[in-house]
């Protein structure tokens, strides 16, 4: 089964509460979820909606057709009617004799109990329509309002009244809770990966759609005894985090494109001072302010070329919420191992979207700090000691007795003192470049290929498009021999697999959430391999599997 619910209305109507309660309840009834948010950059008014797709099997992306629309205002009925599936239902306060329309006097019902809880009446009615009991929903209400106890009873009452106001139309079953699953959004997943990796210091300036990371880690700061500092601007964010790293703590910052632009010089500073740092860029369309609350993959080439001149840098892109936890954890270990900046490229689709995933397996998670053993330091400490692999023993101030730790943004010698001679400059550039070579040889993740041995088409993507591309591939597989190549690491670019694949007699179809085919250009510049077709989308909305399927049919298949 595959059931798609849309909750629509204007900002300020409590859509988030509805979504939170439905998500929790469906999950406890054993359903797999995939939810996305489509909202405007405003606090009140406008048109916002959230989509919750549920199934008895794992889901990889959003759906297009709607089975149940909870329209919290009249405008939402008009906007979403064209998307309704056959047998779909619209629950609203609009009186109509159309078959698909179910009337609910939500405001009238709420008025008698608590006029602010109109949304809870919708939740109650939705459960009745779907044929699900309200016991789990009641628990969800209690948990959601745990900090506002005085409204719990009102909401429970309205849940019941909403339930009684409509008739059952579908027959969704309780599947029994799957204890091995969790539901998590991409921003929390990045935050969770960071906390598991021992994040002690997170510094950021609020910016959509990255603020979810800041909120999640800040919510944990007291219980974990870590520090989350809201900086005065993104230049401060990155420099603060670098200060934390220099002082010996695992440190991180997060932002979106505009903030990343302000951090550019700081990321270059991490490059030349060889300070480990993790930076999350939750992409939104740009340039400048762009579309603040929407999604895109337009920062790829910017991230790869983040600051002036050249220095070792890693850019990786999680494929979904589950991968975001593991990749963020890995980012900290790699930043420490190579003493480099690592940029995590997420996006609004991944960051704001939630998915049911398998419980995170921590058995392989090992925190590897790669700090110097003080006993091994003889004489005067050289922060930038020349070594075979370019990696110098890293110490933090106060770690070594009778030794200081100096770092410098100027070109420097092994002791970090300013130099301008060509010989030392060449040796330092060579030293830093050696780290990049070692990273390429030892730690790059090759993209994952799934599909037939001899495909006619290969859908190539990076980061969060992996799920929708997988759905498209599955639909297309009925008619075509089609495979999928999904990249995690994008810089340095792993080239082995794509070179092997290019040998096959298959057409490469690059699917990207940007207008300029940035990944195609990157692959081409690194390998000479180029796309045969590009399926691109830069309207701020995520791909669905069906959309990729349709566009493949229209633009690719011969």
């Amino acid at each position: 089964m595959d059931f798609n619910i849309v909750i629509a209305g204007e900002a300020g109507q409590g859509l988030k509460t509805v979504e939170a309660m439905l998500t929790k309840t469906f999950s406890r009834h054993g359903y797999y979820l995939f939810s996305t948010k489509d909202y405007m950059s405003r606090v009140r008014g406008g048109h916002n909606f959230m989509q919750i797709r549920i199934s008895d099997q794992k889901l990889e992306g959003p759906d297009e057709g709607i089975d149940l629309l909870l329209a919290l205002n009249e405008e939402s009925v008009e906007i979403h009617s064209p998307q309704m599936n056959e047998d779909g239902t619209i629950l609203s306060e609009v009186e109509s004799d159309k078959d698909e329309m179910v009337y609910l006097d939500a405001k009238g019902i709420a008025k008698e109990v608590n006029p602010r809880a109109v949304n809870t009446v919708f939740v109650g009615a939705a459960f009745k329509i779907m044929g699900l009991p309200t016991d789990q929903a009641e628990e969800a209400v209690k948990e959601h309002f745990a900090k506002k106890e005085e409204v719990v009873d009102d909401n429970l009452d309205l849940l019941k009244k909403g339930y009684d106001a409509v008739n059952e139309l579908y027959n969704l079953k309780d599947l029994g809770k799957n204890e091995e699953n969790i539901v998590i959004d991409g921003n929390s997943a990045v935050g969770l990966g960071a906390l598991l990796a021992g994040l002690s210091y997170y510094t950021a300036y609020p910016m959509s759609p990255s603020t979810g990371i800041l909120h999640y880690v800040a919510g944990k700061q007291e219980e974990l005894g870590i520090v989350v500092e809201q900086s005065e601007d993104e230049i401060a964010s990155i420099n603060m985090a670098l200060g934390g790293s220099y002082a010996g703590m695992r440190s991180m910052t997060g932002t979106s494109g505009g903030g990343l632009a302000l951090m550019a010089e700081g990321i270059g500073l991490a490059g030349i001072t060889e300070l480990p740092i993790v930076v999350a860029d939750v992409q939104r369309p740009g340039p400048a302010t762009g579309l603040p609350t929407r999604t895109g993959q337009g920062d790829l080439l910017f991230a790869v070329n983040i600051a002036q001149d050249e220095f070792p840098l890693m850019v990786l892109a999680p494929k979904d919420q589950e991968d975001a936890v593991y990749q963020t954890f890995r980012a900290f270990n790699l930043a420490d191992k190579y003493q480099i900046p690592v940029i995590i490229l997420s996006d609004q689709f991944l960051g704001d979207g939630s998915k049911t995933i398998k419980e995170i397996d921590t058995s392989e998670m090992k925190i590897e700090r790669h700090l110097v053993d003080p006993a091994e330091v003889e004489g005067e400490y050289k922060r930038y000691k020349f070594t075979e692999d370019g990696i110098s023993p890293r110490a933090y101030p106060g770690q070594l007795k009778d030794n200081i730790v100096l770092i410098d943004s100027d070109e420097h010698d092994e002791f970090a003192h300013i130099v301008e001679d060509a010989e030392t400059r060449n040796k330092m550039v060579e030293k830093r470049n050696k780290k990049m070579e070692k990273l390429k040889n030892e730690d790059l993740l090759e993209p994952e290929y799934t599909g037939p041995e001899a495909p006619d088409y290969i859908l190539v993507g990076w980061g969060s498009t992996a799920g929708p591309i997988r759905e498209a591939k599955d639909i297309l597989s009925d008619d075509y021999k089609v495979g999928q190549l999904a990249f995690n690491d994008v810089w340095p670019l792993p080239t082995k697999t794509i070179k092997e694949i290019a040998e096959k007699d298959a057409k490469l179809v690059f699917v990207e959430n940007n207008a300029g085919a940035q990944f195609d250009r990157l692959v081409r510049s690194e390998t000479g391999i180029k796309a045969d077709y590009n399926i691109l989308k830069d309207d701020g909305r995520p791909f669905s599997g069906q959309e990729i399927y349709r566009r493949f049919k229209e633009e690719v298949s011969e």
Binding site: S27, S188, L192, S200, I226, A236, G248, E359, S409
Partner: protein
């Protein structure tokens, strides 16, 4: 007392002969030795400029980072290690120009940091353009008809912000400067010392003589009286006061994070297994 030779404050420099940075360096090494601090117990954060090269010319831990951006990384050390003595040191351009936003917000945070500003009222390293503290009549290759803005009085700004320790000193009086540094170290919280320090190569107005003629030591001034401090802070003309102008005991940045207590966060021992409950919260 720590041997002041440990600081190696006689290293070769890229400063001009006669530069006010030399006496400032000597005063700093003397003060650190008086305070019984070993080089590894001090971390200095600097930006870019001639003054900002200080961590190369004196032996302490050093983060010679980006222009104007010394405060943000210094906060990181304040979180990681409560014991470390933290100094932010740079010129007037780095501190008050490029770093303007950071100084404002770090006065609000009040971290336990000593801020030494080499204020020579000009840009030295870039060869003689106006700085935020340059006098209006200064003529430079850029400011050909004088400066298009009023000079910043950093002391007035800091007292206006109720920065928790505000002092002015001059390299012309080394004993005074040493005393101000020692007092700044004793103070818990942000401590600004704006230090007159002539640029002998590019600033032909604000010379040693110019400063020596004008500065006077504050006497009978109560630095804990904000109204009195505001009055003193206005003085910048034929007479310029030096000394502790404002001092207020108030919560520091770390005090506002009560759960940190005396903990050095750098020593936090994290085991992934202890954090598995975070995953369960998403069930």
């Amino acid at each position: 007392m720590v041997d002041k030779n440990l600081y190696q404050a006689d290293r070769e420099t890229a400063w001009c002969p006669g530069c006010g940075n030399f006496p400032l360096r000597t005063a700093l090494a003397d003060a650190l030795a008086d305070l019984d601090l070993k080089p590894e117990e001090v971390t200095m954060y600097t930006g870019i400029g001639q003054a900002a090269k200080m961590p190369h010319y004196i032996k302490v831990n050093g983060f010679n980072g980006l222009h104007g951006r010394s405060f943000p990384p210094a906060i990181g050390m304040r979180v990681a290690n409560p014991e470390m003595t933290v100094i932010v040191e740079s010129g007037d351009g780095c501190s008050y120009g490029e770093g303007g936003n950071h100084i404002l917000h770090n006065m609000r945070r009040n971290p336990d940091i000593i801020h030494l500003v080499h204020d020579n009222q000009i840009y030295g390293l870039t060869k003689g353009q106006a700085s935020p503290t340059s006098v209006e009549e200064l003529r430079t290759p850029v400011q050909t008809h004088g400066v298009n803005a009023e000079p910043l009085n950093p002391v007035r700004f800091a007292v206006g912000m109720k920065a928790s320790f505000v002092a002015r000193s001059t390299v012309g009086d080394r004993e005074h400067l040493k005393e101000m540094i020692r007092e700044a170290k004793k103070h818990k919280g942000y401590a600004l010392i704006d230090i007159f320090q002539p640029c002998v190569s590019f600033n032909k107005i604000n010379t040693y003589q110019w400063y020596n003629k004008r500065v006077y030591k504050l006497e009978d001034h109560d630095p804990t009286d904000h109204a009195a401090a505001m009055k003193v802070a206005q003085e910048f003309g034929d007479e310029i006061p030096i000394g502790i102008i404002y001092r207020e005991e108030k919560p520091t940045f770390r005090d506002r994070i009560p759960y940190l207590k005396d903990k050095a966060l750098v020593e936090r021992d994290v085991q992934v297994d202890d954090l598995k409950y975070l995953i369960d919260e998403f069930k």
